[in-house]
Amino acid sequence: MTKISAAILLAMFGAYTWDELQVVLIMQGFAGISLFSIFLLMALGMAIIFGQMKVINMAHGEFMTLGAYATVVCSYLSETYAPGLFHWYFPVAMIVAFGAAFVLGFLVEISIIRFLYKRPLDTLLATWGLSMIMQETFRQVAGARETSATMPDWLMGSWQPAEGLDIPINGMFLLGVSVLLTAAITINMYYSRAGLRVRATVMNRDMAGAVGINTRLTDRLTFALGCGVAGVAGCAFTTVGSISPTAGSQYIVDTFMVVVFGGAGSIVGTIIAAFTIAQAQSILEFLLSGVLAKVFVLLAVVGVLMIRPQGLIASKIRK
């Protein structure tokens, strides 16, 4: 098998030495994994919210932007007032980003979402409106310019296990964050009281209330949690991307694709979808081109959804 694939690769990249190819292929493998972690981070928050209450949060991207701006503020404050701690501001920023997005999500649930639970189309519109309000607010407060959070040294550059082999540190960082976050959410979902409340409510809302679960509070906290996770994603993305009022809206399409493809709300499905799409995307991009890769991936996703509208992993939940 290895021999055959090596032969194919040689035919394609005959002009390169085996060492060179090896190095690039390792880096390319990592590129796919790191795209996977980006997709996963983007989609987690939305999947949590959609799975819990069938609300599609169109303002998801803006909650990521909020997390990103929170990171910028932290980096600025730390640079200005506590330069000694600058080296380690990033974990703090991550918590701040989560907190800011969580609190805002909580307030949004109270003031908008809870009135619309029985009207899914209206939640779509309402959260879309919310996304525009948030974008304009960012523009007013932070300005329209692209900004960046200043990165501590340990988050920049690359790790070089061998000559010519550069594994980006921010990529490894993203991978770490997405793995830890997914694990934390899964553990919380399956081994904590809060998670039990969420699962019971998703399965049978009325009955969950009738055994004594405060389903409204559960909804509210789940929505806020989903937003908070988006905030963490936004914070993590400052290591690779830019921050501008509209930065989040650029993620919403991919996010949506991953969540729907994965089977709307199941965490396992989201992981599988993020992995599949990311690998397809990065392999196709390597062999063809960025734009073509995107076209083929979208077509493939549409095709799969036509055959399997429920997504990869259908939730076995009634209601």
Binding site: L196, R199, M203, N204, A208, G209, A210, G212, I213
Partner: protein
């Protein structure tokens, strides 16, 4: 212990429960009987808050719960075993029981639960959906009881259960009433089962009470007539 006064419940325009009033004394077991479609389940659901009453009051141990959410009613002392059990099918047996602990004083499954329902102990890690009807019924009762209710509401507990097991359920319920100091409201169509557990019977028809008997003087013939189609 439980007092329902002038309760009216409707789905949109159609009124299901009309100006219904009854009360249940502490440690009493009241059976609500009636044919299908006469409003038994609606009455039970409106007592636990799955359906909002249009008017009237529901008082549990002196507290009016008619305007509260379900979970607050559970806190106030109601426990609910719904028609068809409504087990959380993808949760394990143990997790199902733990959902009932939300409002409990002690947030762990106490020993008496598995002692009363040994079969649940054996099946602890199975998914709720994989249990038989009778096992699910025990699970539903355990789930309702762990919150420490003063009043237990059971909606048609014998529906879809094998006759041989119905007797077991009756025996368990009687034992639990004594053990857990319970007041019980049960809706039923099976008279034999009712007679084993109830202290008093009322019959409803089209959402109103049409007949009432203490168990000591039940006229089985009259009630059977109400229950037959």
């Amino acid at each position: 212990m439980l007092e329902v006064k002038n309760l009216c419940v409707s789905y949109g325009e159609s009124i299901i429960i009309r100006d219904l009033s009854f009360s249940v004394a502490k440690n009493e077991t009241l059976a609500i009987m009636g044919r299908n479609g006469m409003g038994k389940t609606t009455l039970m659901k409106s007592m636990i808050g799955m359906i909002r009453a249009r008017s009237g009051s529901i008082t549990v141990d002196g507290k009016d719960v008619a305007k509260l959410d379900s979970f607050q009613r559970v806190k106030a002392g109601l426990g609910f075993v719904p028609q068809g059990r409504q087990i959380f099918s993808a949760l394990t047996v143990e997790e199902n029981i733990r959902t009932g602990l939300e409002t409990a004083k002690v947030r762990k499954i106490e020993d008496w639960v598995y002692k009363t329902f040994p079969v649940l102990d054996e099946m602890k890690n199975r998914k709720g959906g994989n249990l038989s009807g009778g096992q699910q019924q025990q699970l539903a009762i355990a789930r309702a009881l762990v919150s420490g209710p003063k009043v237990l509401l059971l909606d048609e507990p014998t529906e879809g259960i094998q006759p041989s097991i119905i007797k077991d359920i009756a025996r368990t319920l009687n034992e639990l009433k004594r053990l857990r100091d319970l007041t019980v409201v049960v809706s039923e169509q099976v008279l034999s089962f009712t007679l084993e557990i109830a202290d008093r019977l009322i019959v409803i028809e089209s959402g109103a009470i049409v007949h009432e008997d203490p168990r000591s003087s039940v006229d089985e013939a009259v009630i059977s007539r109400y229950l037959s189609v």
